[in-house]
Structure formats: structure tokens, C-alpha cells
């Protein structure tokens, strides 16, 4: 991997240059301390890459919350209207946990039967990472997702007055070569400062979760009363799933429009919703809230580990920040282990 440096003052210039590679998305401040991921092409100075979490993560760039998968005349062979196709997009300000989340979505959507809706947007996505600094809700360090060495095209780590720029792919290299005025070779001082920042950042994490043997612990505790307790507290509003960068369940519904045109629509869904596991005849395989809450945690921390060798939680803290009743994933696992 090639490392370069870029003067901090040149950031707007880089963002302007990135427009060549697609529409540029970045976190922007909507209200004090509330960030959302938006297209900044009209004013690149709105970019706030240091913002820790946008409410809804980047997954919306790849799969819209609602899109038409197939359409046509009712009862006839449908075609793909390309409703989800976003064209070339540049995602600026991606943190290490997000890069890991992106890799998890790739595992799910690009293995076996590749999902063409995801794939077409993914293939045109340029990923520009940004080195963040944790707050009290971040626990990526515990999830082993606090740093990355691949999965991005460029990665900018802020240092005093400059960025250390890691070039991760040949697309990243294209960007560098097209903008020789922005980048210069990194110095030994840059590397030293970068490594010091890395160490200081490790010290800065205040939230920790013990994931040792967690799948086994969960296996042993699947009938634990803690799930009933959580079931009483959780509203099953699904906020935690909507904001989670790796939660990507969806529902499919057919709609009939005026004039006999129909569409098959795909909508974000959450395993916490009451009807999620309902089958014909009305039987609900997870009618109890407790079972649905348990399903979410098991799927992330046990099921995914068994299937892919790692959990599907990257420790971004979004679900902690957005739960209306204050359910905290870290505390949940402390309970399960009997530590609280």
C-alpha cells in the first residue's frame, strides 16, 4: 500500500476533484450534532467527515430503503426498471467500522446468488475513508474493526495540519495521479505522527465488550430470563436495525398501479417487527418480543460468526445512540454473561 500526505487546506480541492468519479456523498450537519449522509456536490465545504455517525449509514447508497425490483403489466413477465441504480457514487468520510460493515454486506450480497441490485451500485462506489476519534458509544476496538488495511480506495487520517493518505486500490491510484498537485510523498515524521495517533486512539476507547467465546456463551444462554426482560423493555420499533450499517433484511411486496401496471417493491425490514416471521395461515414463528430481540442479537453475534467466521456487528454505536428505551448492546452482553 502506498502512503502519501496531503495538506489539510487542500481538502475542498480534493472533494471538487472527486466529483469526476461520481456524485460525492459525505456527512453533513443537519442540526447541531445531528448528521446525515448527503450529496455535497453543490457545496463541498459542507462535508463533516469527522462526524462520528450519520443516523442512517451508507447502506442507503447501495440499496434504497424502497425501490422497484421488477415491473410490468400485471401477470406478465416483468423487467428490471433499474430503479435502484444510482450510477457512480463517491462515499467520502467512511470510518474504519463502516469499511468493515461494507465488507460484511459484500459477503452477504455478493456470495452465492449475487444480488444484482446491490452489485451494480457497489461496483461503481468509490470509498474514501477517514480516520475518526471514538466517543462513549464506540466499541469497534472490541469488535476488531477499529482499523482497516483494505476495503477503501483512499483513506485519509488527519494529523496536525495534514492528512496521511493511504492508497488502497488502483482507483485510488487513479485519483492520486489525476491530482498530482494535491499529494506529496509522506515523510518519516508523518509516519511517526500517524503511529502515535494510532496508539493514543487505542487509549481513547471507553466502551468495551468482551467477545471471547460469545457464540458459546449465547448458545448456553438461549433460554436465559434476560431475553424476557429485554422483551419487556424493547418496543420492537426497529430503529436499531434501520440505523445499523450491517442490518439489511428486506421485505418484498407487489403493488398494482393504475392502468394495470404492477411493481414488485423491495423495502427495508427488521426482524424485530411483529410480522417478520408470519407465514400463510397466520402462524408467527416469533410472536413474542423476547424471541425477536433474541433473534437480532443471535443473528449478529452467533449466527453470522458460524456462517462467516466473524460477527456482523462492527461496534459503531448507532443502535445505542438511537434506541428510544435505552437498550445498549454492550450492556445486553454483560447481562447475558452475568456481569451486571
Amino acid at each position: 500500500m502506498q502512503t502519501l500526505r496531503m495538506n489539510s487546506a487542500l481538502l475542498p480541492e480534493l472533494l471538487e476533484a472527486l466529483k469526476e468519479w461520481g456524485r460525492v456523498w459525505a456527512p453533513v450537519e443537519r442540526a447541531p450534532d445531528v448528521f446525515s449522509l448527503e450529496v455535497i456536490d453543490d457545496d463541498v465545504r459542507r462535508a463533516r467527515p469527522e462526524a462520528l455517525r450519520t443516523i442512517v449509514p451508507f447502506k442507503k447508497l447501495l440499496l434504497k430503503p424502497r425501490f422497484t425490483m421488477l415491473s410490468g403489466r400485471t401477470g406478465e413477465a416483468p423487467t428490471d426498471p433499474l430503479d435502484n441504480d444510482a450510477g457512480a457514487q463517491v462515499l467520502f468520510g467512511v470510518h474504519a467500522c463502516d469499511v468493515h460493515a461494507l465488507k460484511i454486506l459484500d459477503l452477504l450480497y455478493l456470495t452465492d446468488y449475487a444480488d444484482p441490485y446491490y452489485q451494480r451500485n457497489r461496483e461503481q462506489l468509490v470509498v474514501i475513508g477517514y480516520g475518526c476519534w471514538p466517543d462513549e458509544h464506540c466499541f469497534c476496538e472490541s469488535m476488531d474493526t477499529s482499523s482497516v488495511d483494505d476495503g477503501f480506495d483512499l483513506f485519509l487520517t488527519p494529523l496536525e495540519g495534514r492528512f496521511l493518505v493511504a492508497v488502497g486500490t488502483s482507483v485510488g491510484d487513479d485519483i492520486v495521479r489525476a491530482n498530482p498537485n494535491l499529494f506529496e510523498a509522506a515523510t518519516r515524521q508523518d509516519t511517526r505522527d500517524y503511529l502515535r495517533r494510532l496508539r493514543e486512539r487505542e487509549e481513547a476507547f471507553s466502551l468495551e465488550i468482551d467477545v471471547t467465546d460469545l457464540p458459546y456463551v449465547l448458545e448456553l444462554k438461549k433460554d436465559d430470563p434476560v431475553w424476557d426482560e429485554l422483551g419487556k423493555k424493547c418496543l420492537c420499533c426497529g430503529s436499531c436495525s434501520m440505523v445499523c450499517p450491517t442490518c439489511s433484511c428486506f421485505n418484498v411486496m407487489d403493488e398494482v398501479g393504475p392502468g394495470g401496471d404492477s411493481s414488485r417493491v423491495r423495502i427495508w425490514d427488521a426482524c424485530l417487527y411483529r410480522d417478520y416471521a408470519v407465514v400463510a395461515g397466520g402462524h408467527n414463528f416469533r410472536a413474542d418480543r423476547a424471541d425477536r430481540v433474541r433473534q437480532r442479537y443471535y443473528h449478529k453475534q452467533e449466527a453470522f460468526v458460524r456462517e462467516f467466521g466473524m460477527p456482523s456487528c462492527v461496534g459503531c454505536g448507532r443502535c445505542i445512540e438511537n434506541c428510544p428505551t435505552g437498550i445498549n448492546v454492550v450492556e445486553v452482553f454483560q447481562y447475558v454473561r452475568g456481569e451486571l
Partner: protein, 299 residues
């Protein structure tokens, strides 16, 4: 007869395509060739892919399923009651249950076009059945996938031992494929016993009582037998433990599970149980795997 089945899928492997197309969500058109009432609320739909080469090459494993689609109405997973050894025509045995199935019953006639995606799921581990006895136990609609397996085993008659089918229904008019099964039983190619919960005074020359009772009367060499059970959740509650009591190892008992499915290809999450996606790792599981997944059988 030498017959080559498609290999079982390696889950979470390299990308691959469904026979019905590169977009796994896009159904391939198939024409309804024949519709036949099996019981008052179950119909057999015979379909043929409109694309001639797909119709000829579409291959599946017994126990796999397809998604049947009517744009504007919906999609649903359905098992295949026909055998891959008799390709060209695809049969589906469909019960009236809700939006999509009502539409199929009320608005679809011979000559109409429907959409099919598949084949989906893992199917029965039939390779392991060769040179063994196979005991099939069906309850209600569970006969649909087992009829596909039955035809398959009959077509490969010389490579398997005994073929035994115990099939329980609620009443005589609910028995699926009744004429066919009775005539196969007479021919002696397979040992077939039908039972109904109650004949209710109608003509019935099969047995009366629950299907588990039929098990008491079959002589089995459990060491050379595989058991395959398909039926509703209550059926499993009784049948599986009874098989274990009869001496079957839990890894020699197979069952097929029904779950809510949307995508059928391991993406939407709806069919997830424990760590498995029923649509990819299933719908066929060994009893051993099934009891080790929370919620898999009894909820």
C-alpha cells in the same frame, strides 16, 4: 438407469446463477399446461418453461423448491412433487392459503403464463440413500415433496432397497395422489400404507388413526434405513421422537421445514432460524441439525 443429479450447493461459496436467470429475483416465464384438482383445496399445476432450452435443461434435486410468481399479486415458495428423472414438465401441488394461492385458483387456467425462479434450497441427500432402505412418512401437504422423492426412487428402483411410504391425511377426500398411490401399492414397487384420522363413514380401504401408529406395524432394519419425514409442525412433534425410539440415529432422519420466505436465495433474512437460512441451508435438515437450532421445530 444412470441419472445425474445436480450437485448439492456449497453454501456461501463462489457466486453462481439460478437456472432461471442471472438476476435471482427475476422469474422465468412458464406456461400452465394442465390443472388438476387433487383435493377440494389442493390443485396440481403442470408447467413448462416458455423458453424451450430452459424447459429441457432445468434440473433439480428431490426436496428442492421454486418460487412461483404472479407480478402484481405476489410470490410464494412451493415444493416440487415431480421427479427430476422426468424433466420437461414441472409439477406443483398448491393449497389455497391466501392472496397468491387464491389468485392461482380463481384466475389461472391452462395456457396462462406464470413466473418461476429456482431451483432453490438443498434437497434430500439422495446420494446417501443408494443401497439403503428409505422410509418416507408424510402428513398432509408434506406428501407434495415426498411424492417427488417417491417418483425419483421408483425411477432408480434397482439402486435402492425397500421403498416404504406411510402417509396420513385427515379424511379420505384430503388424500393427495390417492389413485396413483393405491395403484403403486398394488403393483408392489413400493410398500405404501395410507391412513386417515377418521374415514367419517366414507368408503376407505386404508387405515384409520394417526400416522405414527403405522410405524408400529412396519418391520424395519434401522441400520440400513434412512427416514424422511414431511408434514406440519404438530406432525413432527410426534413422528421424530417415535423414529428415534424405533432406533434411528438423529442424523439418519431428515425433515423439510416451512418458513416465511421472500427472496429464497439467502438475502432477505426472513427464513433465518438460529444460524441458518432455511432457504439456502434447508429446507431439508437432519433431525440432529434441527434440534440444535432454537425455534426450528416446535414454535
Amino acid at each position: 438407469m444412470k441419472f445425474q443429479l445436480p450437485q448439492p450447493l456449497k453454501v456461501r461459496g463462489a457466486p453462481r446463477e439460478l437456472a432461471t436467470g442471472a438476476n435471482p429475483y427475476q422469474p422465468a416465464p412458464a406456461r400452465v399446461m394442465r390443472i388438476q384438482d387433487l383435493t377440494p383445496d389442493v390443485r396440481l399445476f403442470e408447467l413448462r418453461f416458455s423458453d424451450g432450452s430452459l424447459a429441457r435443461t432445468f434440473a433439480w434435486r428431490p426436496g428442492q423448491f421454486v418460487e412461483l410468481s404472479v407480478l402484481g399479486v405476489g410470490e410464494g415458495p412451493f415444493s416440487l412433487p415431480s421427479s427430476p428423472t422426468r424433466p420437461g414438465i414441472l409439477q406443483l401441488g398448491i393449497r389455497r392459503a391466501g392472496t397468491l394461492t387464491n389468485y392461482l385458483f380463481d384466475h389461472i387456467s391452462e395456457g396462462d403464463e406464470l413466473g418461476i425462479r429456482g431451483p432453490l434450497g438443498n434437497g434430500f441427500p439422495v446420494e446417501r440413500f443408494s443401497n439403503h432402505d428409505v422410509l418416507m412418512i408424510a402428513g398432509g401437504l408434506g406428501m407434495v415433496p415426498l411424492r417427488g422423492l417417491l417418483h425419483y426412487l421408483l425411477d432408480l428402483r434397482s439402486s435402492v432397497g425397500r421403498i416404504i411410504l406411510l402417509y396420513g391425511s385427515r379424511s379420505p377426500e384430503q388424500v393427495l395422489f390417492r389413485d396413483e398411490l393405491e395403484s403403486l401399492a398394488r403393483r408392489g414397487d413400493a410398500e405404501i400404507v395410507l391412513s386417515v384420522d377418521s374415514a367419517g363413514g366414507r368408503i376407505w380401504n386404508g387405515r384409520e388413526g394417526v400416522v405414527t401408529e403405522l410405524l408400529d406395524d412396519v418391520e424395519l432394519d434401522v441400520d440400513r434405513t434412512y427416514a424422511v419425514a414431511c408434514g406440519p409442525p404438530v406432525f413432527y412433534e410426534f413422528v421424530l421422537e417415535k423414529l428415534v425410539d424405533a432406533g434411528f440415529g438423529k442424523n439418519r432422519i431428515f425433515l423439510s421445514l416451512e418458513r416465511r420466505m421472500e427472496c429464497g436465495v439467502g438475502k432477505c433474512g426472513h427464513c433465518a432460524v438460529g444460524y441458518t437460512f432455511t432457504c439456502l441451508h434447508g429446507p431439508v435438515f437432519s433431525y440432529w441439525d434441527a434440534i440444535n437450532l432454537p425455534e426450528l421445530i416446535y414454535t
